[in-house]
Amino acid sequence: MEMSNMALSTNPQSISAVQSMVAAQEAIANAFTVEDLNFFYGSFHALKNINMEIKKNEITALIGPSGCGKSTFLRILNRMNDLEGDITVKGRICLEGEDIYKDIEPIVLRHRVGMVFQQPNPFPQSLYDNVAFGPRLQGITNKTDLDQIVEESLQRASLWNEVKDRLKKSAVSLSGGQQQRLCIARTLATKPEVILMDEPTSALDPISTAKIEELALELKEKYTIVIVTHNMQQAARISDKTAFFLMGDLIEYNKTKVIFSDPHQPKTADYINGRFG
């Protein structure tokens, strides 16, 4: 900012510089900018020419039938697909302007872009150690700091009141819904910018599901959330934008309201009306 002010005062003709600043700031309002993404598992073309902008502090839902590429797309965003072996990524995926396949180390990227999985997967350790895992990886060892991060993260994940007296107990003693909120707390503790959720409620009962949805809505004030879901009501209830994938193509990406009330593509309409998938 200081640079541009200086430029303005010394050179009144630098309007184009200001314009590019504005464009850059718009790009920064995007958490992710995906350009011409093509993705292959071996020779299988799993995602085709995906272009997408994911806005900050919004919930973006990815929907589509099984095998459409929505989970693959999600796992590209924090490079979890790197662990699967024979993959090829073409195109550019930027997190706040930085190319995640060129400019950022995967382990740093995964601190910034956390992930919550389909099955709650707490480590077989105490609640405390689960939440402190990420901060410890980042080199935080001070007990007071860790205590504070653990409490904050559990509070944000609406789990603190239920577990504050048993932080030293095993994480596997929690119920499924509590385990999933613990996994969210564990992700929050790494202080991410984006949280990816891969069908986070598909293994949970309706009450736990409602809690997680409520939590997602609270969290979007501070974080950007991308959620894969099979449950279309869920996408309609909580997301701001919805992307519909089919056979590796991004068929339609728009405001959730539009997708569910007035989809522009006939395939989208067929899918949300349950005519296939």
Binding site: P124, S126, L127, F133, R136, K169, S170, V172, S173
Partner: protein, 300 residues
């Protein structure tokens, strides 16, 4: 109600064979237990009937020194084989996961684990005694028995790591952990109770080993308990002194000893050895439970 009491013939046969199998399994289990108990009872009886307090002395007339040697040798061999074995298991489960290297490694380990211990003993004698130009010593014995225990610990570690749900590793990578952080902070602690089992089995093998130690750890023991100089050849804790273990001593007293108490000595050694293995096993399990609780947190 009456109709349901009439069981059709095929179902009746199924029920009968179910009962027969259940009964036979109980009988077999009971027989095994009885065999074990009578075996232990016989050993205890033979040991106690000839018992003399002097046999327990830490001197050439007692078996105290052999008892110490046994414990010390197990300790030395575990120091060598536990890190190496766990390391090999990690390598096979997480690094050399497929391809030619893994096949070759697996064949090597399987072969190693089925080598007769006398062959390993002679190999140890050749490599750790003759080629190093040294006298029989406990350290050479520990190295030699480690060849026998390594494959055991490596295989059990590998199996334990492979048995963990993939979601543990995914969760850890998802939080930005490196591969080694994932292995050391999540996978090894989660597999630890199983790895302990491997260590207990390995220790049991060392407690009972005789053939591999005959030509490496040696058959003589000369300990001066007043020595405080660890480099002295008579200092108890000098790993480079020779030291006879309990099982070697049983073998020696039963085969070539001229000592009038030889048989009483062998019987008492057998009982002590049994008690030692038992205590070690209980101790290791208690340690495993403790670490697990510390790690896992209380499960209630």
């Amino acid at each position: 109600m009456q109709a349901s009491k009439a069981i059709p013939a095929p179902r009746r046969r199924a029920l009968t064979s179910d009962r027969i199998v259940t009964l036979s399994l109980h009988v077999l289990a009971g027989a095994t237990l009885l065999l074990l108990l009578s075996f232990v009872g016989y050993i205890a009886y033979s040991a106690l009937i000839d018992f003399q307090p002097s046999l327990l002395e830490f001197s050439p007339t007692g078996i105290g020194n052999q008892l110490f040697n046994t414990v010390y040798l197990v300790f030395l061999s575990l120091i060598i084989s536990v890190p190496l074995g766990i390391g090999a298991g990690i390598y096979m489960a997480e690094y050399a996961t497929h391809g030619r290297i893994q096949k070759v490694l697996r064949i090597a380990i399987e072969t190693l684990s089925s080598l007769p211990s006398i062959v390993v003993g002679l190999f140890g004698y050749l490599v750790f005694i003759i080629m190093t130009n040294s006298q029989w010593n406990l350290f050479a014995g520990a190295l030699t028995v480690s060849i026998l225990t390594l494959p055991l610990i490596a295989t059990i570690t590998e199996d334990a790591l492979r048995a963990l749900p993939a979601s543990y590793a995914k969760g850890s990578y998802g939080l930005g952990a490196t591969k080694w952080q994932t292995i050391s902070r999540v996978l090894i602690p989660a597999a630890f109770p199983a790895i302990i089992t491997g260590i207990i089995l390995a220790a049991g093998r060392v407690f009972g080993e005789a053939a591999a130690l005959m030509f490496t750890a040696g058959m003589s023991t000369d300990i001066n308990w007043n020595s405080t100089d660890i480099t002295s050849p008579t200092n108890a804790f000098n790993p480079f002194r020779s030291g006879e273990t309990l099982s070697l001593q049983i073998w020696a007293s039963r085969s070539e000893s001229l000592d009038p108490h030889a048989s009483a000595m062998a019987n008492l050694s057998a009982l002590l050895l049994l008690a030692l293995v038992f205590m070690f096993s209980i101790g290791a399990r208690a340690l495993s439970r403790y670490l697990n609780r510390k790690n896992l947190g209380d499960t209630k």
